[in-house]
């Protein structure tokens, strides 16, 4: 029981601390701009959860963020930082639009949608697989490679659209006639007018699949083992390079499928820059969601509310305030995670052992490389940590 409580406190405290800090910074910014925080927050809530259109837009934005958030979270679980969700999303959406355009208007919806889904997965997967392969084969930093690939892939897509398939006078492709996904408004009239569409249900299903994969399958288990302690996993018979490559591929696939939300669910065409910012927001979503699929869905709703709410309060304060708050949340979570862990360790440990400052031990259960556990300077500490972290060493094959 105590372990479960520690675990929950450790997962939930840092995001809460971060949200409080963000609220304080938000208040300061609102006051600088000469408005009353109460008014702004009230209007923000009314403009999002308070009416059908606003709520639908929140759902629509949360859909894309769930996919990019899951993509980043899956990477972090494997100890990898996928900063490339931005271009993987674009590439997935682009390929889905391309396949959608290639199919005749009469194609059965089931066939057309599955073909586009597959295309989006391939589009994102290819872009994700490159850094994964380079990391596994050459040890190239996936952080740098994904950042650089963002620029390369987006420039390439811009070139293809601008030079070959755009509708003149615009930056988008012609409209896809096969494979459009129905809006949620078609089933639930309460969403009328908003962009919310059935991709949201796909996002929830995907979150469930990711949970099952991570916590109930052998490859998912290997992935988490590699994220916690690559050396220990290697010793336990896991082929670390292969797991890295697979994790980046899957991460790209997840982000790529997110492209469907815009391309099949909303506008029915690919447009230059349609997902700008979603990839980076995905990092915030994964962090606040503590890299857990359920947490990711909740965090996606939170950030979607903020981003839609920014439009609702734009008359009072600049909508850019939300960009500032997002950044503050990320910095605060990243800073609070190690601090909370240390503080909890200090209160739990019997005094006198003198380990309060380092906080290794059972805390390693939730510490992939993304959120560095400060290394101990004592030899043997790494093995100790791996043994403490409660994952049994996999069967040898």
């Amino acid at each position: 029981m105590a372990r479960v409580r520690t675990h929950i406190e450790e997962s939930i405290l840092p995001p809460l601390v971060a949200l409080v800090i963000a609220a304080v910074v938000g208040d300061i910014l609102i006051i600088i701009f000469g408005q009353s925080p109460g008014d702004v927050y009230r209007q923000l809530l009314e403009g999002t959860w308070g009416n059908a259109y606003g709520f639908g837009q929140v759902i629509y934005k949360a859909t894309t963020l769930t996919f990019t958030g899951l993509a980043v979270a899956l990477g972090i679980r494997a100890g990898l930082f996928n900063i490339g969700a931005e271009s993987q999303l674009a590439s997935g959406g682009f390929l889905a639009a391309l396949i959608g355009l290639a199919m005749p208007p009469g194609t059965p919806a089931v066939l057309a949608v599955s073909a586009c889904l597959l295309a989006a997965a391939v589009g994102g997967g290819v872009v994700g697989a490159i850094p994964g392969a380079l990391k596994a084969r050459f040890g190239a930093s996936e952080v740098i490679v994904t950042i650089m690939l963002n620029f390369v892939v987006l420039a390439l897509l811009n070139y293809i659209v601008a030079a070959h398939i755009h509708v003149s006078e615009t930056l988008h492709t012609p409209e896809v006639r096969a494979g459009a996904l129905p809006r949620l408004a078609a089933v639930f009239p309460m969403f009328s007018g908003s962009a919310a569409n059935t991709t949201f249900l796909l996002a929830l299903a995907t979150a469930a699949v990711v949970w099952w994969y991570l916590f109930r399958t052998r490859p998912g288990y290997e992935l988490r083992a590699v994220g916690l302690q690559p050396d220990a996993a290697e010793y336990g018979g896991v082929r670390v390079g292969r797991v890295w490559a697979r994790a980046m591929l899957l991460s790209g696939v997840l982000a790529g499928i997110g492209g469907l939300n815009y391309v099949l669910g909303y506008k029915h065409y690919y447009e230059e820059g349609f997902g700008t910012g979603s990839g980076f927001l995905g990092i915030a979503v994964a962090l606040v969601g503590r890299n857990h699929p359920i947490g990711v869905v909740i965090a996606a709703l939170l950030f979607a509310t903020l981003s839609q709410g920014a439009l609702a309060v734009n008359a009072l304060v600049p909508k850019q305030m939300v960009d500032v708050l997002t950044a503050v949340v990320i910095i605060a979570v990243a800073t609070a995670v190690p601090e909370v862990r240390r503080a909890l360790a200090a209160t739990r440990r019997p005094s006198g052992i003198g380990t309060a400052g380092t906080g290794n031990g059972e805390q390693a259960t939730e510490a992939p490389r993304g959120v560095t556990v400060p290394g101990s300077r004592f030899p043997g500490a790494r093995l100790q940590r791996a043994a403490d972290s409660q994952f049994p060493i996999p069967d040898s094959r």
């Binding site: 650089m148 990243a334 800073t335």
Partner: protein
């Protein structure tokens, strides 16, 4: 030919400033993903300072102050609190975008650009190629890189910076204050990258939203492609700038689509990391927190 060289130098200047900062930071073990954000902050503060004080020199001072402030926040999170450098680095860039936009609206009531501010040189981009050399920052850019080379390899501080980035435990054990060295290195990188931003704002006589447009990442690409060595990084900056200049000059001929020229620095960096031609190996303790 002369015009080509001068234009290359002009385009390379912000890369040189930012990359100089990137070298110091990364050699001390702190990942320099933040160059873009520091640049943007520097550009905005420079425009602000120049506008209110009426002199571009005050603009430079204000820009450096802004860059330092951003750098200190980054150092506080990553060094004092040992937060993950990649996460905070990405967030610092988002923060710079948000903060500059917010204060752009607050100060100038605009969501796109500041009014015209006092700056250096002729003003409009591309006008008066020779007059651009009157911009003192063009010369500082080259000096900045020379200074970094000298600091890194010829001073005790540089030796400590390299120790902090390669073997912080060893450095600690002989009494080098690793965390303080890292604080200083991050501060220097913030100031230097801010100068890159100040150059952009004062050269164009205004701040425009998102005016750095990925230049901080090109500088980071140059740092990696140049293998964290000031001489090679300088060459990388000039190379990237020359490619851009070539593209601008040959635009009318339509030989290569501009998007492919844009890709050059990024593709070269990926190739360098994969080690096809002489692998780029980063400082051993890059990204690692120190107790």
């Amino acid at each position: 030919m002369m015009a080509f060289l001068i234009q290359t130098l002009r385009i390379a200047t912000p890369y040189l400033f930012a990359a100089a900062g990137g070298i110091i930071s990364e050699r001390a073990g702190i990942i320099a993903l933040t160059l873009e954000g520091f640049m943007l902050t520097g550009a905005f503060c420079a425009a602000l300072g120049s506008y209110y004080a009426g002199s571009p020199w005050f603009g430079i001072l204000a820009g450096v102050a802004g860059g330092l402030l951003a750098a200190l926040l980054h150092a506080l999170a990553t060094i004092r609190y040992r937060a993950d450098q990649v996460v905070v680095g990405i967030a610092m860039n988002l923060l710079a975008v948000g903060v500059t936009r917010f204060f752009l609206r607050l100060a100038f009531d605009s969501s796109s650009n500041s009014p015209r501010v006092p700056g250096f040189g002729g003003g409009q981009v591309g006008s008066g190629v020779l007059s651009s050399l009157a911009n003192p920052l063009v010369w500082f850019g080259i000096l900045c890189m020379v200074a970094v080379g000298w600091i890194l390899y010829r001073t005790p501080f540089g030796l400590r910076v390299r120790a902090a980035g390669e073997k912080p435990e060893a450095a600690l054990s002989v009494g080098v204050p690793v965390r303080r060295i890292r604080w200083l290195a991050v501060a220097l990188s913030g100031a230097s990258a801010a100068l890159a931003g100040a150059y952009l704002a004062l050269d164009q006589h205004q701040f425009t939203d998102g005016m750095t447009a990925g230049r901080g990442f090109i500088a980071l690409a140059a740092v990696i492609f140049g293998k964290w060595d000031p001489k090679r990084v300088t060459i990388a900056c000039l190379l990237f700038a020359a490619a851009e200049t070539m593209q601008i000059r040959l635009q009318s001929l339509q030989l290569v689509p501009s998007q492919f020229v844009e890709m050059i620095p990024y593709v070269l960096t990926i190739v360098a990391l994969a080690g096809v031609v002489g692998r780029a190996v980063q400082p051993a303790a890059l990204g690692k927190a120190v107790d």
